[in-house]
């Protein structure tokens, strides 16, 4: 394997030193995609021509003396982030032919930084799912073991980074959709604080929970990408107007004296023993580095899951109502009149999981049930925030597993509730709007990646990144890579 194995940081140095060109780097990734993606299936759309044009442009900028951490670096974009002129499908039949006439704000930022968009990545349909199995187009495979799911909903993003099919990728996280697939595929995945990264151009699933974030090979890469994509956007009313620090400068500092809490509710029964062990081993590592670790309690943890499914489904049922066959996307072929056109279009255009969430959400908002479900869930949200706030009065960060199990087999979680239960370690973070990072913590005995999670208080990404960096440098787990088989 050639240059595709390098981190963003390393690639950037080589590009700046003119050891290689962006065109060479981009071609290398494109070739690798041709070779291995027929098996992995991480990309829905590969933009070869555009990518090479962008790479040429980046080379020109480098030649003119411009420097930048993402200049000339190939990136894969989850297919729910709008890219002007490139089909953006949300892995759904409903948007199979939708070509946005505008770029999402994060895309504008990446282009300004000179990143090279290589393609659009597979996902669970409309970001609803935890395995990428609900994609209308294809099933992405876990690069470590292609009989296993890569996780979801940013399964394509995680698999692509893990298999070196992009130098870094962007995903989105509503209930764990960056962190869980990152954990399953052995990548680093960060969900920023709600409001840190603009949502303009992110095709909405649950407006009060969604955030775009990076998936990378290393923590340093993650900090670098975050620096470029974070920041106030006047097109997003929920985006926060605060100065963005240079997240990379927080790395490598001394973490002695930092206080880490380990909430016991996250290590209860149902967590795979090897994952529990990974968390406890991490505790030892942090203690050896001078941090103070202590068990703590977040009593409302399990309620977060119930609140999450109500709030996210309710918001999704409203956000997905615009898919009606009138303005863009799929329209059914045969119908009698307007109402029938709506019914046929939406019933044929959406997959089962999406329909399930829409039904649930519609119910939770409907007359007679709003108070009992949606309103109640929002009230619980306030309590969960308080739960976390109390912890952060004592701790700099919380350490938990990212997932209760490692990657599972395709078709293994056919029952919706069993699939939803897999989100138990990640959803509370979205409910509370907090930042969290999943980092690789080795492999289990079946050689499946384990991921562990750090959670910090709002806008404390620097703490997360410095703690994650310290763990990574001590363990070297970021160097683990899957063996890939070539595709047909």
């Amino acid at each position: 394997m050639g240059i595709e194995k390098y981190t963003v940081k390393e690639l950037s140095e080589k590009l700046q030193n003119k050891e290689i060109s962006s065109v060479e780097v981009t071609r290398a990734f494109l070739d690798r995609i041709k070779k291995y993606d027929p098996i992995i299936n991480s990309y829905i759309t590969v933009c070869e021509e555009r990518a090479l044009e962008a790479a040429e442009e980046a080379d020109r900028r480098i030649a003119e003396g411009e420097r930048g951490g993402l200049l000339g670096i190939p990136v894969g974009i989850k297919d729910n982030i709008c890219t002007e002129g490139i089909t953006t499908t949300c892995a759904s039949k409903m948007l199979y032919n939708f070509v946005p006439p505008y770029d999402a704000t994060v895309i504008k930022k990446l282009k300004a930084a000179g990143a090279v968009i290589v393609g659009k990545l597979n996902m669970d349909e409309f970001a609803m799912g935890s395995s990428t199995e609900t994609s209308y187009f294809k099933k992405t495979k876990n690069p470590y073991d292609t009989s296993l799911v890569p996780g979801g909903s940013s399964g394509g993003s995680a698999a692509a980074v893990s298999a070196n099919l992009a130098a870094f990728t962007l995903g989105s996280d509503t209930g764990g959709s960056i962190r869980q697939p990152a954990a399953f595929c052995g990548s680093v995945g960060l969900k920023p604080t709600y409001g840190l990264v603009s949502r303009f151009g992110l095709i909405a699933f649950a407006s009060s929970l969604d955030q775009i974030g990076p998936l990378t090979k290393t923590v340093e890469d993650c900090a670098l990408v975050l620096k470029y994509i974070a920041g106030h956007d006047k097109l997003d009313s929920t985006s926060v107007n605060i100065p963005i620090p240079d997240y990379t400068s927080a790395l490598g500092g001394d973490i002695a004296g930092m206080r880490i809490g380990v909430p016991r509710e996250y290590l209860e029964d149902g967590i795979q023993p090897e994952i529990k062990k990974a968390v406890l081993d991490a505790v030892k590592i942090y203690e050896s580095l001078g941090a103070a670790c202590e068990e703590c309690s977040l009593p409302l943890t399990k309620y977060a899951l119930y609140a999450y499914y109500i709030i996210s489904s309710a918001e999704a049922s409203s956000n997905l109502a615009r898919y009606d066959g009138v303005k863009y996307g799929f329209r059914a072929e045969n119908y009698k009149g307007l109402n029938d056109m709506y019914l046929e279009t939406r019933s044929q255009g959406f997959g089962e999981e999406v329909k399930r969430r829409i039904m649930l959400g519609t119910f939770a908002l409907s007359s007679g049930y709003y108070d009992a479900y949606y309103k109640k869930a929002q009230q619980v949200r306030t309590l969960i925030r308080k739960d976390f706030s109390n912890s952060f009065a004592k701790f700099d960060a919380l350490l938990t597993p990212t997932t209760p199990t490692t990657a599972f087999r395709f078709g293994e979680k056919a029952d919706p509730i069993s699939m939803y239960m897999g989100d138990v370690c990640t959803v509370a973070v979205n409910i509370a709007g907090l930042p969290a990072i999943s980092m690789p913590a080795g492999l289990d005995s079946a050689k499946r990646p384990i991921g562990i999670q750090l959670i910090a208080d709002s806008f404390n990404e620097e703490k997360l990144l410095s703690l994650a960096y310290a763990y990574e440098k001590t363990t070297g787990y970021e160097n683990l890579r899957p063996d890939l088989k070539e595709g047909a």
């Binding site: 729910n80 939708f98 006439p101 949502r199 009313s237 908002l365 949606y374």
Partner: protein, 474 residues
């Protein structure tokens, strides 16, 4: 059995902002279809709204002008339903925390002042327009109007007649025009009114079952719709039948309403707080700032015209009903015209001509009306001539003095110039002179006619009359 009609109104007014409520597309009326849109107002995947501050300013202003309490913590909510003119399949509106609540307006009804309660005023976005082609079984959708900001004004069921409703609407229109909040052009759709109406036997406390009427496009249609629906309901109840609670579509050309087929499922709008927008926190300073920027409102202006300009009640009410007319009137008075004379002209000939020509505003400068009036005062033209000049001003805006000269309307009022002519007329008509001396006034008219003929109509008849009387010492 005598019945009482109970009416409440829901009024939608398009705000006079330059850009839409959540994006910066233009709000101008009349553009080619779908040329004033963007991904935000057409509900494309991934877009987000950002609230136009002017919309909140206008809502607060309307609320203050209508004696409302202004909320300190407002939020916006989604109203979810499917229709092709609604691209997001929800309308962003306000549910339980509207910008304004608990206001009122006073109207004149049967010679007394009556207070009509205003339940709330809230902000929301307009939907697009549909053009139906029944023959082909399709509709065409234009999203230009999508996202144009609206305020919705909801009244208490305090109105009791069509006249009251009309008076109330005229009051609302005047206030919105005066404050610049809306241009209130019903024919352009910038002011729309839905009518909630029920009847009950006089003296009964409980309200009857009410219907909601839509598609009312003028103030006179409001009157017709109310009278018709009130009658319809009374007839039903008199026959022992029940009023069906429903939405009805008023057809003004047919003079009746039709019950809209109830949908398969009742409208459950599933209101919930808009997660893409943040709360609106209104401070005392903000309210104070808007209060200080309020212009003189119709009632205050009316009172001032009566007390300071000496206009009678009727004139003051007439002129202040429209901001355009009031502004015009004030400028005419500023140019020196006596207020009552200015108002006579405006209420009389000018309004008549405006109605005939279906004009919204007076097509010539107020200075020209003032000048016309001063020409009369100076005796240079007669009142009849002035009417001709005003009519001419409606066709072409020109200096009235030039019009007077062109149309040979200048009259001679100079006594010394007219005296010899009058003398000559008297000399030539001794019989008429005798008759006048004998008390027969008819001859006066004859002599005046002669004098006018001799001066080719340019003599000031009052001066002629005076000279004749002087010379004859009568």
């Amino acid at each position: 059995m005598a019945y009482e009609t109970v009416i409440g109104l829901e009024i939608h007014a398009e705000l006079s902002t330059k850009s839409k409520i959540y994006c910066n597309c233009s709000t101008e009326f009349g553009a080619e279809p779908n040329t004033q849109t963007c991904p935000v107002c057409t509900g494309m995947p991934g877009v987000l709204p950002v609230l136009n501050k002017q919309v909140v300013d206008f809502a607060i202003m309307a609320g203050l002008a209508m004696n409302c309490q202004i909320t300190r913590f407002g939020k916006q909510d989604r109203k979810n339903y499917f229709y092709p003119d609604l691209p997001k399949a929800y309308q962003t509106s306000q549910y339980d925390l509207p910008i304004c609540q608990n206001g009122y307006l006073e109207i004149e009804s049967n010679g007394t002042t009556k207070r009509i309660g205003i339940t709330r005023i809230h902000i929301e976005e307009d939907a697009g327009k549909l053009v139906h082609d029944d023959f082909r079984g399709v509709s065409f959708v234009d999203f230009n109007r999508c996202g144009v900001p609206l305020i919705e004004i909801v009244t208490e069921p305090d109105l009791r007649s069509a006249e009251e409703a009309k008076a109330f609407l005229e009051k609302v229109k005047a206030i919105l025009e005066y404050t610049g909040v809306s241009d209130c052009k019903m024919q352009e759709g910038s002011l729309r009114c839905d009518i909630n109406l029920s009847v009950r036997p006089f003296g009964q406390k409980e309200f009857g079952i009410r219907t909601e009427m839509k598609n009312i496009n003028s103030f006179s249609a409001v009157v017709r719709a109310i009278e018709h629906e009130s009658q319809r309901q009374i007839e039903l109840l008199s026959e022992g039948k029940e009023v069906v609670q429903a939405t009805r579509r008023w057809d003004d050309s047919k003079g009746r309403s039709v019950e809209l087929r109830s949908k398969e499922e009742a409208h459950d709008y599933r209101y919930f707080p808009e997660p893409d927008l943040v709360p609106i926190v209104i401070s005392d300073e903000w309210i104070e700032r808007i209060k200080n920027s309020l212009p003189e409102l119709p009632d205050a202006k009316r009172k001032r015209y009566i007390s300071e300009l000496g206009l009678p009640e009727y004139d003051a009410a007439f002129i202040t009903a429209s901001k355009g007319m009031a502004d015009y009137f004030e400028k005419v008075v500023e140019c020196g015209a006596p207020p009552k004379i200015a108002s006579n002209w405006i209420m009389g000939d000018i309004t008549k001509l405006m109605n005939e020509k279906e004009l919204e505003s007076i097509p010539f400068a107020p200075e020209y009306l003032a000048k016309t009036i001063s020409l009369i005062e100076k005796g240079l033209i007669s009142t009849t001539a002035a009417k001709k000049i005003v009519a001419a001003l409606f066709e072409e805006e020109k200096d009235p003095e030039i019009i007077a000269k062109e149309k040979k309307l200048i009259q001679v009022s100079d006594e010394s110039a007219l005296l010899p002519i009058v003398k000559q007329i008297l000399d030539e008509n001794p019989k008429a002179v005798e008759e006048i001396r004998a008390g027969k006034d008819k001859a006066m008219g004859f002599l005046m006619g002669q004098a006018m003929r001799a001066t080719k109509g340019s003599a000031n008849p009052q001066v002629i009359s005076k000279l004749i009387k002087d010379l004859l010492s009568v």
